[in-house]
């Protein structure tokens, strides 16, 4: 396309596809390019072709033996967390503070998120479900702990996953380490790690596989806990 790059939706085709698949665009550019990508078949094709190459790049690294103790450490932690749901409960919320301002993302989320409000009575049980155009979600609370049940959320493309965050008061949300995909019908059930005491909201964003400590997109779910 180089000589005949066309402009679609104000974006010059071909300019950003390589940097995008290499993860080298700035966060604002990523959002802009994704918006362009949704409607541009030429860029979709180029991204798909380049992803074949970047998908193979890890194999180009010199191969090293796995350190002997690492296998024992990983498997011992895995054995200590036998089921995904329990595992997510046991994971303590990490204290990372997202470097990006959540303010903008949070404000934008009001338009797109599945928002629910849950009355949290100490030690009691409650559930509230809110339907929205993007799907539905419910936060089931029992004994101060929560399970987030989602329905009809879109399945994410390769390399993307849903990540759960929690917010305490008005502080910036922190990552919980809980990552999940949805079944073919768009449903999933995940435990909120730890107690809900002091939690003002449970949020879900779409992130790169493996999760991130900094949100790269606006939340698709905001469950306010009051």
């Amino acid at each position: 396309m180089s000589g005949e790059d066309r402009i679609a939706n104000g974006h010059r085709c071909g300019e950003d596809a390589a940097a995008y698949v290499l993860g080298a665009l700035e966060p604002a550019e990523v959002e802009e390019f994704r918006a362009h990508l949704a409607d541009c078949a030429a860029c979709q094709k180029e991204v798909a072709e380049f992803e074949q190459i970047t998908g193979a790049l890890p194999e180009s690294a010199t191969q090293y033996q796995l350190p002997k103790d690492l296998r024992r450490r990983v498997m011992s932690e895995v054995r200590a967390t036998p089921k995904a749901q329990e595992a997510s409960r046991k994971t303590s919320a990490r204290s990372w503070r997202p470097a990006l301002a959540w303010g903008g993302a949070f404000a934008a989320a009001v338009l797109v998120a599945v928002v629910l409000v849950v009355a949290l009575s100490s030690g009691g049980s409650s559930t509230k479900t809110i339907q929205a155009s993007t799907g539905a979600a419910e936060l089931q609370i029992s004994g101060g702990r929560g399970d987030l049940i989602v329905h009809r959320l879109p399945r994410l493309p390769a390399g993307r996953i849903y990540e759960m965050w929690v917010q305490r008061g008005t502080a910036a949300p922190t990552p919980t380490g809980t990552l999940f995909g949805v079944r073919s019908d768009g449903s999933a059930a995940v435990g909120v790690p730890g107690s809900l005491n002091g939690i003002s909201a449970v949020l879900v964003t779409q992130e790169p596989a493996g999760g991130t400590i900094t949100p790269t997109s606006a939340p698709v779910i905001v469950a306010r806990v009051t």
Binding site: S2, E15, D16, A17, A18, A19, L22, G23, A24, L25, E26, Q52, I53, G55, A56, L57, P58, E59, S60, A61, T62, Q63, Y64, Q65, L66, P67, L70, R71, R73, V74, M75, E77, V78, R79, T81, P82, K83, A84, A87, S88, T91, W96, A99, R155, G159, I161, G177, T178, L179, F180, G181, R183, A188, P208, A209, G210, G211, T212, I213, T214
Partner: protein, 195 residues
């Protein structure tokens, strides 16, 4: 579904993942054994420090265990899924600590190269694919290879690379595109790699 201990190792990755979703630790152990060396090598390539690479691999596999439902066979192999998670974790770790390396030279000389005699048949095939990718990367003009390596293995944005190399941002993006197109051409349809 219950498998005899030995039978688990004869399953394909995709079949194993179905068992992993049922919470089977032995199935996950087989997935780990098949791909952990590649995961560690990638993390080591990216951060250049053994201890940090170990942390990244540990974090990545634990997140895979917790979120196995995120794997979709229609979107790629288990190996590419594992490596993409490791890649993202490594970028996060480097951004968190402010250390970006993207180098292929270990800083402590402790990690040992994988000896050829340890290779299974599948590993031999994979290494052949890996050689093709490495050759395609090595054959790029230095300026194109450099921006690709700094972005992919170093976690730098195009603006950071431009500043580092004293180039206009558009030039960096252009070199990335030229480089990936050349690699695509060299690898070609017939030499399509399995990842």
């Amino acid at each position: 579904m219950r498998f005899r201990p030995g039978a688990m190792r004869s399953l394909a990755d995709e079949e194993l993942m179905q068992v992993v979703l049922d919470g089977d630790v032995r199935a996950f152990e087989v997935v780990f054994d098949r791909h952990a060396s590649a995961a560690f090598s990638l993390a080591y390539r990216m951060c250049g420090r053994r201890a940090a690479a170990e942390d990244i691999v540990q974090e990545a596999f634990l997140s895979l265990w917790r979120s196995g439902s995120g794997y979709d066979p229609r979107r790629g192999s288990v190996r590419s899924w594992v490596l993409s998670v490791v890649h993202n974790r490594a970028i996060d770790a480097m951004r968190r600590t402010g250390s970006k390396a993207g180098r292929d030279v270990p800083d402590d000389g402790i990690a040992e190269r994988l000896p050829a005699r340890d290779a299974t048949d599948a590993e031999v095939l994979r290494r052949d694919d890996a050689r093709q990718v490495r050759t395609a990367l090595d054959e790029l003009p230095t300026d194109q290879r450099r921006v690709i390596e700094l972005a992919y293995f170093g976690g730098f944005t195009h603006s950071e690379i431009a500043e580092m190399l004293g180039l206009p941002p558009g030039t960096v993006k252009g070199r990335m595109r030229l480089g990936l197109n050349k690699m695509r051409y060299v690898l070609g349809e017939e030499a399509r790699v399995t990842v």
